[in-house]
């Protein structure tokens, strides 16, 4: 084959361009750590990469939702525990009052304590979390329990909507309990017992009038309401527990997804470094070959 100046020249240029562009790509990969920089870098990988990214993003969202649900349910649970404690002290005061040996002063003191507790319970009914009433169903800006001044004396103003939050693909957790169930408004939870506030009122009036048999009769109502709330709190506690294990599971699957994404998108750093070094060598060899080939011609040897 005839070899000409142009051929040598083109060849050297093509080789040097090839060597530099491969070197550039290797440098890019080694410094960015990414194997896929644009969709055409790996057409099969890009679809995987995008869907993993989206999955990770929604897992992070579920984590956020779960944390949010968890803190809201904790507020509910804490409030329910406080109500339980309060009702327990109502029960012990009521059984003291049912004791016929108490004098009037002692009864007056019990009545006074019971009145304080009644206000406390109304306060619990209107508990807010992040400025919303937690016992009002979805009517979160309306205070759930109101005194009507008529019959029945207390009315539930919320609704019975269960507010749900997505905590996993297709899985929802209810983050509220409605006040009608908690406070047994209109017999919503325990049909043969009055709501907590009416119960308190009639207990106070029984204590006030010293009607021991009425007080004793009401002990059953107190127990019924107490059991109702304890039952609800157990349910809430179970939900919180499920959320905690859910958060843990989400964390694990996020880690798995992230490592899968890294498998798809990231370069093997050791391989990238070796690749870079090899290509650097190639480039230097190409340069030295070019310099020695281009230097000489017959003109150097003619006198």
């Amino acid at each position: 084959m005839r070899v000409t100046l142009g051929m040598t020249n083109d060849n050297i240029k093509a080789n040097l361009t090839g060597a530099t562009s491969r070197l550039l790509e290797a440098q890019d990969q080694a410094s960015s750590g990414k194997r896929i920089d644009r969709p055409s870098d790996d057409v099969a990988g890009i679809g995987k990469s995008l869907s993993l990214r989206s999955t990770i993003s929604s897992i992070e969202q579920y984590e956020e939702n779960s944390t949010m649900a968890n803190s809201q349910l904790s507020t509910v649970s804490n409030t329910l525990s406080s109500i339980t404690k309060t009702l327990q002290s109502v029960r012990s005061l009521a059984s003291q009052a049912a004791n016929s040996t108490l004098n009037d002063e002692a009864l007056a003191s019990i009545k006074c304590q019971l009145e304080g507790i009644s206000d406390e319970l109304k306060g619990y009914a209107n508990t807010q979390y992040l400025n919303k009433y937690i016992f009002a169903g979805s009517k979160t800006t309306t205070s759930p329990v109101a005194e009507t001044g008529g019959t029945p004396a207390y009315e539930y103003q919320g609704n019975n909507e269960q507010i749900k939050v997505q905590t996993a693909p297709g899985a929802y957790t209810t983050v509220n309990v409605t006040g009608d169930l908690v406070f047994n408004m209109g017999g919503a939870a325990v049909s043969d017992a009055p709501d907590i506030f009416t119960m308190m009122d009639s207990l106070i009036s029984a204590v006030d009038s010293g009607d021991i048999s009425s007080i004793s009769a009401q002990l059953a109502d107190i127990d019924a309401n107490l059991n109702n709330i304890t039952g609800i709190n157990t349910q809430v506690g179970a939900r919180i527990k499920r959320l905690e294990s859910n958060i843990e599971a989400l964390g694990t699957s996020k880690d798995t997804m992230k490592s899968m994404l890294s498998d798809v998108e990231d370069v093997d750093l050791a391989e990238a470094a070796i690749n870079l070094a090899t290509l650097q060598n190639c480039y230097e060899v190409a340069l030295s070959v070019a310099s020695s080939v281009l230097k000489t011609s017959l003109a150097d040897f003619l006198s």
């Binding site: 084959m1 005839r2 070899v3 000409t4 100046l5 142009g6 051929m7 083109d10 060849n11 093509a14 896929i36 644009r38 969709p39 055409s40 870098d41 790996d42 057409v43 890009i46 679809g47 990469s49 995008l50 869907s51 990214r53 989206s54 993003s57 929604s58 992070e60 969202q61 956020e64 939702n65 949010m68 649900a69 992040l130 400025n131 919303k132 009002a136 169903g137 979805s138 009517k139 979160t140 800006t141 609704n159 909507e161 507010i163 749900k164 939050v165 997505q166 693909p169 929802y172 983050v175 509220n176 998108e265 011609s297 017959l298 003109a299 003619l302």
Partner: protein, 463 residues
């Protein structure tokens, strides 16, 4: 003794001088693009018969020196034709490769600044709203994410449209180029016609210029020639002559029904049949590639708008009014969040009933993310992912095809160089050869001169 020896020597001196000039021309054009190596072809002169008689009585055939028959260029029509057809493919794929690599940079995928992230953040903001449906900051976030998603779609669509317009105006520019080259070739044809005496006497440098123009033309558009080496060269595109000798039928741009440039023949208005070259790459980029991407993007956007609005419009605001639409617009260039929500984002509702704590609506809209709502049974996100994969696939194909054709062009150019290129070593040794021959002939000249001198001196003897 006659002066004939001097005549022979003169013919040799002339021939060597001419050959030396050709060598000089070669060396000076060693780096000229499109130059083909030239060569002086010498031949022995027609023998003189009858001036001398041989011993057997027959007339001697006496050589008369050297003649230069022709100066020819070394070129392979076969390789040049291959280069031209490879240039057509390379021109087309190169253009597509560049355009698609721009499309890829618009996408910015995979990454945190691409549309996929905007989609995720949009659906997540509805999810956030579902966890705190009363919170005005969550409402503001939904409106903000909705606006930024709409803006990202608008931008992507706008960028794609710009590329489409770019390709369209590139077609117009290339059409001018085609006409310019066609006209130049027709002028060259005319000059070649005047210069060429016969097929053995070629106007090498004019032919070189014409070949360079043909190569340039083949990068832009597909064509065929009748392989004529003279003035009768015909260049035809899809069977119709663009250049015929010194006649040119120009191509022109007409606006097609959809507003894009279309190549037609200027004489009869018929469509130019385009199958290769940069122009084909531009047409494909404009219509088949970017055109289809925009269609898909419009499809995705209109489904997004319809589905979100279908749910959102059944919602009720906290003041008890129907929620209206969340998005306005119908395609990628017009999508936007309802301006009422942008001015008062707190009017956004998460509820069907209007109760402040109810989140069913937000829940359902967030669930659209994974719902297969597209006409082809994919979810919106899957459709977008398929679009990205499609663009990646097209770009990858264009890259590897462009690279492949660049490689075979390199190979062909090397072959062509091997035939037509100037080798300095070769020219140098030719130079020495011609110099030595010239010196030797000069020696013949002086020898004949001395011999004549001898004869002339012999005349003095008789006096």
């Amino acid at each position: 003794m006659s002066f004939f020896g001097l005549d022979i020597a003169v013919s040799g001196l002339n021939a060597q001088q001419l050959a030396m000039n050709v060598t000089a021309h070669n060396i000076t054009n060693a780096g000229t693009e499109g130059y083909h190596r030239q060569e002086a072809v010498t031949t022995a002169g027609t023998p003189l018969v009858g001036a001398l008689t041989l011993a057997n009585g027959s007339a001697a055939q006496l050589g008369t020196g050297t003649l230069v028959r022709t100066i020819r260029r070394l070129q392979s029509e076969f390789i040049d034709n291959q280069i031209r057809s490879e240039e057509q493919l390379s021109g087309s794929w190169n253009y597509k490769q560049n355009a698609l690599s721009q499309v890829e940079s618009f996408l910015a995928e995979p990454g945190d600044s691409g549309l996929s992230t905007s989609f995720d953040e949009f659906w997540n903001s509805w999810n956030d709203l579902a966890t705190s449906p009363e919170s005005s900051s969550s409402k503001i976030a939904v409106v903000e994410e909705g606006s930024s998603l709409a803006l990202m779609i608008n931008n992507l669509c706008g960028n794609l449209r710009d590329l489409q317009y770019q390709a369209d105006s590139d077609i117009a520019l290339n059409t001018n180029e085609v006409n310019r080259i066609a006209n130049e070739i027709s002028h060259l044809n005319e000059q070649i016609g005047k210069a060429a005496g016969d097929t053995t006497n070629q106007p090498c440098d004019l032919l070189d210029k014409r070949d360079a123009l043909l190569k340039e033309l083949s990068h832009i558009i597909n064509f065929q020639t009748n392989n004529a080496t003279g003035a009768d060269l015909v260049i035809s595109i899809g069977g119709k002559a663009l250049v015929q000798g010194d006649n040119v039928t120009e191509v022109s741009i007409t606006e097609s029904a959809n507003g894009w440039s279309q190549l037609t023949w200027s004489d009869d208005g018929a469509d130019v049949l385009i199958t290769g070259g940069e122009i084909q790459g531009q047409i494909e980029t404009r219509d088949d590639l970017i055109g289809s991407y925009i269609d898909t993007l419009n499809n995705i956007t209109s489904t997004l708008v319809t589905e979100v609005n279908k749910l959102y419009s059944t919602g009720t605001t906290s003041s008890g009014n129907p929620a209206g639409n969340f998005f306005t617009g119908s395609d990628a260039s017009s999508i936007s969040v309802n301006s009422g929500l942008i001015t008062t984002p707190t009017n956004l509702t998460a509820s069907y009933t209007g109760d402040t704590g109810s989140n069913k609506l937000a829940q359902d809209i967030a669930a659209l993310a994974d719902k297969d709502v597209m006409a082809n049974g994919e979810s919106i996100y899957e459709s977008y992912t398929s679009l990205v994969s499609q663009i990646g696939g097209n770009s990858e194909e264009a890259q590897s095809r462009a690279e492949l054709h660049a490689l075979s062009l390199d190979e062909l150019n090397t072959q062509s160089e091997s035939v037509s290129g100037v080798s300095l070593d070769e020219e140098m040794s030719d130079m020495v050869k011609f110099q030595q021959a010239y010196n030797a002939i000069a020696r013949v000249f002086t020898t004949v001169d001395e011999m004549l001198d001898t004869i002339i001196s012999m005349g003095k003897v008789g006096r």
